[in-house]
Amino acid sequence: MMASNYNAKEEDGHQPAAIGHGGAGTVKNKKPDNTAFKQQRLPAWQPILTAGTVLPAFFVIGLIFIPIGIGLFVTSNNIQELEIDYTGVDMSSPCYNCSQSYSWNSTKPCLCSVPFFLDQPFESNVFMYYGLSNFYQNHRRYVKSRDDSQLNGDKASLTSPSKECEPYRTSDNKPIAPCGAIANSLFNDTLELYYIDPNGSRTAIPLVKKGIAWWTDKHVKFRNPGGNDNNLTVVFQGTSKPVNWRKSVYELDPSDPDNNGFINEDFIVWMRTAALPTFRKLYRIIHKKTNMTPTLPLGQYILEVTYNYPVRSFEGRKRMILSTISWMGGKNPFLGIAYITVGSVCFFLGIVLLIIHHKYGNRNHSADIPS
């Protein structure tokens, strides 16, 4: 047995304060307070990694993760998704010509139609996305090239945009609205979808262009200058359109004052820059019509593209995606697979550790602490 520590009696016993000589009264005792904190005796829980806690934890995590993973995987697999690359890289691609000839400066729109076949009907609401690859919307110089005050309808910023917008701040000595590189590079392809009846007639599929942006963006972050003044032409007077744009910001959707100017939803969606160089952005929604017919029945379709947006220069790609969604969002099998993998690894590790514990567990017997 080891020698125990010295435990002098007086050390914790309270001694009355020494009385000062000559009746000076009680001298304040310097004995430290006896509080749990000061004496470092705070009640505490001291968890230890023992077999009793670690092994069950591993098994439990395994048992929870695997079902979640399977659920996620199945959900993701049930999502219907169709992706069409219409960049026009191949000679065979219908948009090849457009992609070759196009630059920002051309005035004549280039049209191309991409036929595709849907071998499975899309039952629920269908979301139509455009996707860009190798497009660095997250580049620092790009990301900061905007003026949120201007987009929020601030009059002062409208006429004198933030310096961050350089070099897309002014054009012809007039302030650009909306300024900056993000706005300047607004995606301006027009995508239309037609269903080809078996009899050969084309039916345009109604594409809803509202409700594609975040509510907060649409109602708080983006506001037209001039508040409820619907005459945007007047409001934006004295500003210039972004150099790459064909039309001014107040002409984005002249038909709907609620979707025009800065609060145009296509514009808002674009302005929410992507985190990664490959991204997709919501373009249109195809609402489910009735309960009886699928939103997009099986069959032949044509995607009509007004090909404006140049991506070939930087080896970018453009895609059109049709997708249904689930409770966990769009199609992404990764989470499901990851959960299944991690769950299995956990379970497996649990077993391995259990074996090791059985084999060597007795080593950690406290009796053999050298004294």
């Binding site: 010295y6 310097k30 990694l49 969604i325 966990m328 590790l349």
Partner: protein
Amino acid sequence: SLNYVVFPPTEKERHLRANDRELNLSYKYADNAIKTSKYNIFTFLPLNLFEQFQRLANAYFLFLLCLQSIPEVSSLPWYTTVVPLVLVLSMTMAKDSSDDMNRHRCDKQVNNRKVEILIGGELQSEKWMDVQVGDIIKLENNQFVTVRMEVIKVSAEGDKVKGETNLKVKQALTVTGKLEDSIEKLANFNGEVRCEPPNNRLDKFTGTLTLNGETYSLDNERILLRGCTLRNTQWCFGLVVFGGPDTKLMQNCGRTTFKRTSIDRLMNVLVLNIFGFLMIMCLILAIGNGIWEYQEGSKFAAFLPKGVNAPFSAFLTFWSYVIILNTVVPISLYISVEIIRLGNSFYINWDRKMYYPKSDTPAEARTTTLNEELGQIKYIFSDKTGTLTQNIMTFNKCSINGKSYGELLDFSGQRVEINEKTEKVDFSWNNLADPKFCFHDNSLVEEVREGNPEVQAFFRLLALCHTVMPEEKKEGELYYQAQSPDEGALVTAARNFGFVFRSRTPERITVVEMGELVTYELLAVLDFNNVRKRMSVIVRSPEGKLTLYCKGADTIIFERLNPSCSNLTEVTTEHLNEFAGEGLRTLALAYKDIDPEYMEDWKLRHHEANTAMDEREEKLDALYEEIEKGLQLLGSTAVEDKLQDGVPQTIEQLSKADIKIWVLTGDKQETAENIGYSCNMLRDEMNEVFIVSANTAEEVRKELQTARRKMTPDGTEEPTVKKSRSGLFCLLKTETVADEPVNGEYAMVINGHSLAFALEKDMEMELLRTACMCQTVICCRVTPLQKAQVVELVKKYKQAVTLAVGDGANDVSMIKAAHIGVGISGQEGMQAVLSSDYSFAQFRYLQRLLLVHGRWSYLRMCKFLRYFFYKNFTFTFVHFWYGFFCGFSAQTVYDEWFITLYNLVYTALPVLSLSLLDQDVNDWWSFQYPQLYTPGQLNQYFSKRAFVYTVLHSGYSSLVLFFIPWAAMYDTVRDDGKEIVDYQSFALLAQTCLLIAVSIQLGLDTHYWTAVNQFFLWGSLSVYFAVIFTMYSNGMFLTLISSFPFIGTARNSLNQPNVWLTMLLTSILCVLPVVAYRFLRILLWPTINDKVRGRGSTHLSLVRQDKVLPPAPRRVQARRTSTRRSGYAFSHAQGYGDLVTSGKFLRRTPKSRPALFSQTDSPLAQTQPQSYRTISEWEEPPLSP
């Protein structure tokens, strides 16, 4: 060289004239105002800022701030740097200003004390600060001195100054002494003083006084030092020689070296490496940017604003990344470290188990920057007197006329253990007895009261033969002032046994013998010195009988005994051996009746010798030798040099913790050895105790070598020295002598003389090797400088952390030299405490300081550093990975506000609570298993290796934290089809994952979960969520549009199930491998900590229920039958003999001193057992360094 600051000799010689302010002022000597403060109101801000920016980290952040002001480079808004910087600066500023305010207050208090100065022919009460060099000031009894004065005139009643240790005699020159207290004479006094310039040597002073054309020499005996207290004199006039900062105390005040801990040094090296690492990361990213600009950026020009050319862009990017990745060298690191140390220092101050109620002294951490080093001590250098021992002597045993007293036997004749409960002898029959005196053997009292002549003679001798000064405050209340505590103990013993030494004049000694007043005529005092090792007095009893009483070292006395007492000598020797075996300090007592005629003759010759101009000492010695012959042995005394409570246990505990304890003492070899045995440092079962006490260098070397070869017969002759480089830029060359294995236990005792040789350059290695092989090393008769040299030697070649503990002025050098100095605030003044880093009242608290506080501090600091680096590296690496996905454009992954607040708000408090509250095992287990201390000595918890592991761990975590969200979010959308992979949502996801992951990691690292930890951890997480919801709210956005662009992100992201599933996944993936690894480690390679923790948890309930431990009732006073001779009980160098016989000393009668010890007697003195005084208090409030 190491313990004294060398001040530039600006002043060659000091010259001043009394009462001549004009002349003295012309020299521009420092006045007496003390200024320890650094700032005043106006200089505070600029000076403090200037100082703060001299720190590397702060300067670095200033540099970052400059970088951020360049728009091309700025990758983060200004507030990410400014907020932390301002916070850190203001915290440091607050601390500095409060420190300085304290100093101001101290200064003020000291400066505004009143003193009487002789100005214009009369005494005026002035403030201390107005005292000028050359002034004549008046001091009164018990006042303390705040200038350094030369005593030029004192009352003719000799004075003593209670100074650093014991009372010291200070006397005025005869010529100035004649001035007495005549104000007129003093005012006309115009002596000129020339003396040495200010220095810090307390024991030396040289100068001259020129008065009326004659020159008198001034030495240390004429000088009163600042900080002393005047005793035993009513008043004293003095001439001020040095003022304020020039005084010796102030010159000694400064901490000579700034101590840093090894963790500090390691941290600096690491920070430097981190800078290098940072540069490499930035370089990689910059090159990446160059390539990207070249390959992609140029073609991307239609979308991105003006592209610059690739190399220039890379250059700019480099600096942008320097800004972004700055979090690897977090500014909050240093301030957090300081806070942690401060907190742990407070714990030391607060610890009740280190509070000593008898003197009302709590432990004090005087330095707040060394705490974790307390957990890494490898060598302890301890003083003996006052540190291991109480410096209180108690009269324990005696042998009178062949009979031994003091032992307590029970009915069967067995020795009875004496402890506090043992019944004490009742001295109530003696109304002059000292109530604090304890004795347990009743038989001695009976013998005295029965009138046994030998016993009475024995105590008569003790009452007469000494140089103790009595003080009688009130009738019957006696206080003895002895120069050595041994003497005090002996006189007190005599007092209690009925031979009360009452008063003395130069010619008479008055003793109350068994209630009867007897006055002896004192004919001569044959004083003690180191060579004689004895002292004698010759007295004439009232009956006219002449007797010489002598006490001294047994060997010396026995040589001078009358052959008739050979039988008695034998028995007494036996007793002496017995006493010595118990570690008692012994003296032999003898007497001799003297023929009056012979005495006459002898006295004449004595007077002649005494007045002889040359060879006085020799002549006197011869005379003494002549008369101290043919003595009759009376017996012997045994005085216990009482060990402090718990010293052997503490030493045992510390040596179990693998700490080596060396005792460095000024004591004699025998005394030191005895204490070694009674502290259990030397044991009879040791293989051998080497004693090195040679007189030449060669002999010393030989003895050391012999000892070493004995310990390792097959060891190498040449020491294995590992040379390495360390420190910043590897500039520091270090040599480490490896520990050598030894079979068996050895100890070494080396005396100062040999040590002087052994510490020479060519032999120090030999000494070190031999000494380090020994379990115990005792160095005796060492000088303060040697103490420091020994410490330096170990520091130099062992690269181990050293601690020096001592209580006296002679320990100051070693306290300053060691990594950590501990002062025992005991009875020997405050010098040691003032220069120490930690102080407390009892040696035994050392084990708590090291095994509990030190261990915890070290553990906490290491945990803190590991965790801190982990969380910041993880934070930063994610940026690094993101660089590959954003064209290396220095885009941040997180919201800028998150970057600003991460270290300061979200993670600050949890990590602080971890590093202030964590305990792996509680103090009880720390004591149970001192081995828990060893990881600290081996630097196991935080080293370069541990740092590399931390970096790798962060690398893994950051990979998980970036790529899991990346993959989980790739090309996906919200559950309403809208966007979720936009930059802002991704940033939110990444930062939330990070925060949760580091919080869980914190939880894993926490061993001691208190409510505070929980509160801070959960509180910080809640604060995080509260902050993001606030900052991303409509209101914030609309008030400051450009600062809060993340509007709505929290609402829109955190309602998505896949976001939460991603967070869960990243957290589990971050934690899982760590848990598995730790579990396996505990399972397969458990450390001592794991075992104790495991054990602690299973036994916890048991321990908590009944706190009774098997106490250690072991008085390790095993009876030794060794024949070692004890040290004799004289510990002072030279007696008071001169003073006693010189007329000067005691002219006053006790009655004429009305209020001698009225105000300043502290309670401390009252609690002292026995009433002679050797205690002194440093009454000046310690000046803040």
